[in-house]
Symmetry: C2
Subunit: 361 residues, 2 copies
């Protein structure tokens, strides 16, 4: 059977964010950002712990003041993943964050200006740290806005190319780049344009993507289209609210595109008039019980015994409901009949057995 | 300011599903399917009413037996949008559905066989109805599965091309085509291949896409990538559970790609450590209050007064929260200060004013 054509990734240079390689042939790294007050070490570490559990590979924290920069020292000790300090207006905070152990700082040259960026680069070099150059449509300089008449893709790209040239002149290559816009089409266009001009590893994201559902749509389209074209070395889905759901969306995108096969792929039918059981709560229960599962497995939860197993023949394992009696099936073939009320339990038990047989991914 | 390049749609022929044109230069039509027992006219009509309210333009109902086919006559009278009867194994039910007023039938030639399809086509011609040829990876015939070693994109396309040729021979052109797979990559590949071979209008969807979040990811990627390439004339997002949320996702996809600017585009920041207010419930409230709004408006809900208005300069209107006091802004410019507890109310009132000023879309 012919497999879908694999995605050919555009060649970028590889940098490191702590021990996580980004770019080149490294796996597309999944990032998140805390929503806590960074100065509150306990709460921040706790949230990062949940993010790590959910698959976060690099975490960013906002650094608003000296206390937040100082808190990084304690946070750093208590977490496993590399930490990026998010800096908006103060290069002194960037430097303090690096000195306190941040593996990377995210700065926006549009906000800081070149002399201050130079100082940050000097410290980053000394610390062996990397940087993210974050160009945002909201902070383009006035000349560019005037030239292009607004924050379009071309303006983002010109701004970014200026920063790249400046860092190149400083002999600093340990940086990645983001070109964020809340407009999905602008974002897609900007990353496409820049990927033809530079080998800088690219951090993809749609900014201010909104609620869970709004963000999952915008991020899946923006990040998904670019990754599908081979563009992008690390991704961040941004969601208003608790960031752990960002991991669900990020890995869902990577899984759908076949880029990283991590976690359960749960397929379930849309409960048409044929559906003989109440499917949505079953899907919800299985999703909840399997949260955090790293092993890739295609799991089907189908509403009718007649069409279910055939329609979900591609699933490794599945259940199909029927009034009173459903079936368990594997690779489209019925294995045995199961009482309706036991379907979820049997499915979960069989998944456990499959996991231990396969071993860790 | 340069606008993102508009999508050039692949040229397809135009058909009609009732009064809704599909294909050619018609807007990409948004479909859904009921999750009710079609025989229960009251419940089905009620659900279709909610779907219409949410923007559904064509609705499909499952027809499992004679009573369901008969129910179409009553349902048809009580709803505004065209109705498609979903048929799996019985051509007699397809014919009965057409005779009872369904504007279109969805049949799977892999399940019915050619002689029976011919009978359905005769009735469709007589009724002036259209058809959807639904090829699914779960119901490919054995020869194709053997030839290709499994339900791959090429097998779906070969099956579909056979059906197209057969209908062409019958002189019947009022049909559209779907090639569904629960595997996003297979689905993308299949539609790409077929769109080069035929001018048949294409119905896009990822089948068995799962829960709301899982489906929004898979559908946004699968449908989104294809629409972005100009492929697709009508779409259906399938979600396990209440189908009204399918409309939210479908219009979210179309809006993100700039294909149909319908409804509010709510951008909101991901509540980093800078956020001064509890943003997620505010976003949720605004989304809820604006549910069903058809007018396109870019609305920002931002967590801090310093960065908010600038980062959301592309928004038509927005609020940025601050402790105790936030601001209302339009196109990135502060309009006035607003007490924190009044922010949402003021925003909603201003949106109402903007809507009545602009008039209906």
């Amino acid at each position: 059977m012919s497999e879908p054509a694999a995605i050919t990734r555009k060649k970028t240079r590889q940098i490191r964010v702590g021990n996580v390689p980004v770019g080149g042939d490294a796996p597309v790294a999944v990032q998140s950002m805390t929503s806590t007050d960074t100065r509150d070490v306990k709460v921040t570490v706790e949230q990062i712990g949940r993010l790590e559990e959910a698959g976060c590979e690099v975490v960013r924290v906002a650094v608003l003041d000296e206390d937040a920069a100082l808190a990084i020292r304690e946070i750093r000790k208590a977490i496993r993943v590399p930490l990026i300090a998010d800096i908006h207006f103060s290069h002194k905070l960037a430097i303090a964050a690096l000195e306190n152990g941040a593996e990377c700082v995210r700065v926006n040259p549009g906000n800081l200006g070149r002399n201050k960026i130079r100082e940050v680069v000097d410290v980053a070099k000394a610390c062996g740290a990397s940087m993210r150059i974050g160009v945002n449509s909201g902070s383009l300089d006035k000349e560019l806005l005037a030239k292009y008449g607004g924050p379009c893709a071309e303006a983002l790209v010109e701004s970014a190319m200026g920063s790249i040239a400046f860092l190149d002149d400083l002999g600093y290559r340990e940086f990645k780049l983001s070109l964020k816009s809340s407009d999905v089409q602008t974002m897609i266009r900007a990353y496409r344009l820049i990927s033809e001009k530079t080998d800088t590893p690219l951090h993809l994201g749609v900014t201010e993507a909104g609620s869970v559902l709004a963000s999952s749509i915008k991020s899946s389209i923006g990040i998904g289209i670019l990754l599908h074209e081979g563009i992008g070395d690390t991704i961040r889905v941004s969601v208003t609210g608790d960031p752990t759901v960002e991991m669900t969306i990020a890995y869902g995108i990577l899984r759908a595109l076949g880029i990283r096969k991590v976690g359960p792929d749960i397929i379930a039918c849309p409960t048409c008039g044929r559906c003989e059981i109440d499917l949505a709560p079953m899907v919800e229960e299985v999703e909840k019980k399997l949260a955090g599962m790293k092993e890739y497995l295609k799991i089907a939860i189908m509403g009718c015994v007649v069409n279910g197993p055939g329609e979900a023949a591609e699933a490794d394992i599945g259940i199909a409901g029927g009034r009173g009696l459903g079936i368990l099936f594997k690779h489209g073939k019925p294995v045995r009949k199961v009482k309706e009320e036991d379907l979820v339990e049997v499915l979960l038990r069989e998944i456990e057995a499959m996991k231990s047989k396969r071993g860790s991914p």
